[in-house]
């Protein structure tokens, strides 16, 4: 079946083998930190690359990776990795135990047992990977390989079977994996029988296996048999927020460096969860001593740009257009004209330039903007003669706002046939829209680079606009599927809540009197209802809102209150707002203001190319 997306656009590492992940992998700077043999917590919203990064630590991925830094990273990978995947569907399956009538402690034991079985099976898969590289020509890979004689294999199986209380009919690693799958069948049957007859079920001994001690015991056995007592193991837990709560809490506690010295934990997690208050406890692990926090999101577009450029270069290379720059392929963004061209030729502010035309257009139709410009003594015909400092404070500072306001404020009663490129297109805007999120980046930008590679002509603005709109619509479709708690008939889905915020910002930027510093961020204050906070937590984890911490550092949030956020840039075209993080307003007052979406006669559609 033809894949419309193409080889390099498979956007979700979950669907890919480690080898396939390695083929597509673009190494961010944080990978240099992640490979180190230390505990890590990777924090990021959907699509930020968490699964990709963890999968890259697996032996089949590293083995198949072609990169100048491969050997350097292999020097750091002194551990054998076990990748433990999880997802929503699987979580829903073992969560059905919650609907049974047994006590909560037993429910927890059964859920943990399901997860432990899954983890052990993943560890054995890691062992299998090491068996497969026994003949590797790479000396570093060879050091990680495991050579098990038949006798060794039998020893491992017997000792592991005894530890985890599983029959060992055939003493092979493969059969042990099979037996663990059989155990999962039994656990499924147990859950079903409990549902039908809560009091009549017998619980097998193995559901009492302690999580941490079992994992520790398992690798001790393997290390003993392979005669490498100090061999380190890295357990790569993906999407920890989906794991059973008990397991999640145990893993967070195990980050303390006093746990097993041969076990490294690398956890991936979304930014928000109510049980992150564990990190506030004095006895809890700390980012300085016990683990390294690796953030995969960017508060500001400026922070994201270097990674976006790197992604761009890599994708260009794959399409054979590595000589092209973002501007060659996508043109200049209107939001960036002043910054780019000014440094090149200084013509950005000439009287007949596109940028100055914008200012003049708004000046003509908007009396509040006129007043603003006149008060500051700006002559729009002489912007190019201003000194740089004055231009930065009076012109560049408001360019984003002027462009958006001018685009969406209709000239009263006038028609013009002048065509304008769509506002959110162009190199810088497209990169900023992706927020440095690899999945989003590849979804939007790969398509555009592919089109460029076919004809070597700059991708026209309307195709860029169409691509952005499709991505934005698709993102909103995802948000529309996330369940929320509804109170008082308000915000019956996530989009309705985000609409309140987006429409508020639109009103502030476009409808009200011109302001050089309108609020485009919001603070979750104490008056924000609890159900709204819960919904915002989901929005944060989905990437619909972005956290703007005062101090960079810990990005795990257990309480949204008193924290500052902005909407994702991907939603800017939908709400017709600038991609700008300026001052913040209390969320409760935003929700009270309830501005409905503006009616069409007053404002224009985002991709209206005629005036």
């Amino acid at each position: 079946m033809e894949n419309k997306l193409g080889l390099f656009e498979s956007l979700n590492a979950r669907h890919l083998t480690p080898e396939e992940v390695a083929q597509r992998f673009i190494s961010p700077e944080v990978f240099d930190e992640l490979v180190l043999p230390t505990n890590s917590i990777i924090i990021g919203p959907r699509g930020s690359g968490k699964t990709t990064l963890l999968k890259m630590l697996q032996i089949p991925a590293i083995k198949n990776w072609s990169h100048v830094k491969k050997d350097e990273h292999l020097n750091s990978i002194t551990y054998i990795s076990a990748f433990i995947p999880t997802d929503i569907t699987w979580k829903e399956q073992w969560s059905t135990i919650d609907q049974s009538a047994i006590n909560s402690q037993t429910k927890q034991l059964i859920k943990d047992s399901v997860f432990v079985t899954h983890v052990i099976r993943s560890i054995l898969e890691g062992v299998r990977h090491c068996l497969e590289i026994i003949n590797s020509s790479n000396p570093r890979l060879s050091e990680l390989s495991i050579n098990l004689s038949k006798d060794d294999e039998r020893k491992v199986c017997e000792l592991v079977s005894d530890l985890i209380k599983i029959p060992c009919e055939i003493p092979s690693v493969e059969f042990l994996e099979f037996s663990l799958r059989r155990r999962l069948v039994d656990l499924g049957a147990l859950i079903n029988s409990i549902r039908v007859n809560p009091s009549g079920s017998d619980y097998p001994e193995y559901i009492n296996l302690p999580f941490a001690e079992t994992l520790s015991g398992l690798i001790s056995i393997i290390n003993l048999v392979i005669k490498r007592p100090n061999q380190k193991w890295a357990f790569l837990f993906d999407e920890l927020e989906i794991a059973p709560e008990g397991i999640r809490q145990k893993l967070i506690r195990l980050l303390r460096s006093t746990y097993d010295q041969n076990i490294i934990l690398k956890l991936s997690i979304s930014p928000y969860s109510e049980d992150f208050d564990l990190f506030g406890d004095p006895s809890s692990p700390s980012a300085e001593n016990d683990y390294k926090a690796i953030n995969l999101w960017y508060s500001t577009k400026e922070d994201a740009r270097p990674f976006c450029k790197k992604l761009f270069e890599q994708v260009c290379k794959r399409y054979g257009v590595d000589d092209a720059t973002p501007e060659t392929i996508l043109g200049f963004s209107e939001f960036d004209l002043g910054n780019k061209l000014n440094s090149l030729s200084g013509t950005a502010y000439a009287s007949n330039s596109l940028l100055v035309q914008r200012f003049k257009s708004l000046y003509k139709k908007d009396s509040s903007f006129r007043e603003y410009i006149q008060k500051r003594g700006v002559d729009l015909n002489s912007i190019d003669k201003m000194n740089e400092e004055e231009r930065a404070s009076k012109i560049r500072k408001i360019t984003n706002i002027v462009c958006v306001r001018d685009t969406f404020l209709r000239d009263s009663g006038e028609k013009s046939t002048k065509r304008r490129p769509s506002l959110y297109t162009g190199a810088t805007s497209i990169l900023d829209i992706t927020e440095g999120n690899p999945r989003l980046f590849l979804g939007i930008v790969s398509k555009l680079i592919k089109v460029y590679s076919q004809k070597r002509v700059q991708v026209n603005a309307s195709f860029q606009a169409k691509t952005i709109l499709e991505s934005s619509d698709r993102f909103r479709a995802l948000l529309g599927t996330i369940a929320v708690k509804v109170e008082n008939e308000e915000h019956k889905n996530l989009n309705e809540l985000l609409d309140d915020i987006g429409n508020f910002i639109y009103k502030e930027v476009v409808i009200k009197k011109f302001s050089a510093d309108p609020p485009t961020c919001f603070i979750v204050d104490d008056l924000t209802p609890k159900n709204v906070q819960n919904a915002l937590g989901k929005a944060l984890n989905a990437g619909a809102i972005v956290y703007m911490p005062e101090n960079p550092g810990h990005a795990l949030i257990e309480d949204l209150k008193k924290k500052r956020f902005r909407l994702s840039n991907l939603l800017a075209p939908h709400y017709k707002i600038p991609m700008l993080a300026s001052k913040a307003r209390q969320l409760s007052s935003i929700l009270k203001s309830k501005y409905p979406e503006p009616s069409t006669p007053y404002t224009k559609d985002i991709f209206d190319e005629s005036n």
Binding site: M1, E2, S10, D87, I88, Q93, I482, V484, N493, L494
Partner: protein, 305 residues
């Protein structure tokens, strides 16, 4: 439960020992009961939430005339009441009208009947499509996204296998593409079930509501099914799910006409743990719309074996 598709005798000529339907705000909820009233020996209804509508009153009045009895008033009592009312160890003909039942309710009814029904029993699923109404734009409420009921969550012993989706298309705006991304399934491998209704306005509305998804997928991912051929559709869903389950964890998300939800649940009965049937719902926050019957009667009879 295992079953065979029964040679469909004309349902209007066949006695029905027990007939289960629902009372709600939809006028169509009593259409089939009235049509087959002379064949029904014992009629039972599940009482749904009363929104205070006139249609609810008139449906109640119709059921009173037909001398139907209240099976239960809420979801949690469905199984207990079915096990109490439907006799064991008898070969019966049981009809279930799913037209106005919430999807979780019809799933619970089917699941409860599988526990009770003896081999030889005929289970007939009945459905009357609604008359066309223009669907609403925009995103509806979502307060639940998960297995239709816990009994159809499935159970995978291969949680490392990639998930794959079989999605029925409905006219909930962009919901299918949203759920594909929510479940993290590969869009390029999703199977889409496109209904072919007798009233083509429905089909047009489905295409419009799913344009974003349809523009992104290969046409070969679309399987058309005729709404009035439920036996073919059941075979299609079951065989696709079975084939995919070897290498994937299969999730069926039956948006669209309610009968597709019931057919998915029946497929899950056959395939047991290999399949999850999923539901996305606004529950009581969805706006109640009074739907009238189009006048068609669609049914599928199964013989329990």
């Amino acid at each position: 439960m295992n079953f065979n598709i029964s040679n469909s005798q004309d349902i209007e000529k066949k006695d029905i020992d027990f007939f289960i339907s629902a009372i709600g705000y939809e006028t169509r909820s009593c259409f089939i009961a009235k049509k087959l009233s002379s064949n029904i020996k014992k009629g039972l209804y599940i009482r749904l939430k009363d929104y205070g509508s006139d249609s609810y009153r008139s449906v109640q009045a119709e059921y009173d005339k037909l001398k139907f009895e209240n099976l239960c008033d809420n979801f949690n009592d469905i199984k207990r009441r079915i096990l109490a009312v439907i006799p064991e160890n008898e070969e019966l003909h049981i009809g279930v009208d799913v037209s106005s039942m919430p999807r979780s309710y019809s799933a619970k009814v089917v699941n409860s009947l599988t526990e009770r029904c003896t081999p030889g029993t005929i289970l007939t699923v009945l459905y009357t499509p609604a008359k066309f109404t223009v669907p609403s734009d925009g995103f509806g409420p979502v307060v639940y996204s998960g297995p239709v009921i816990s009994e159809y969550a499935g159970w995978s012993t291969y949680p490392d296998k990639p998930p794959i989706a079989i999605i029925g298309l409905g006219f909930e705006y962009d919901r299918a593409i949203g759920v594909i991304d929510y479940l993290d399934v590969d869009i390029s491998r999703a199977i889409l079930l496109m209904p072919e209704s007798i009233d083509k306005r429905f089909d047009h509305a489905v295409r419009k509501a799913n344009k974003l998804l349809l523009d992104q997928i290969d046409r070969r991912q679309i399987i058309h099914y005729k709404l009035d051929c439920p036996s073919d559709t059941l075979i299609t869903i079951t065989s696709i799910a079975k084939g995919l389950s070897n290498s994937n964890r299969v999730i069926i998300v039956p948006f669209g006409p309610k009968i597709i939800n019931t057919l998915s649940v029946l497929a899950a009965e056959l395939l047991r743990e290999d399949v999850t049937v999923w539901r996305v719902s606004g529950e009581e926050f969805e706006s109640p719309i009074d739907r009238h019957s189009s006048g068609e009667l669609i049914y599928l009879s199964l013989e329990i074996i």
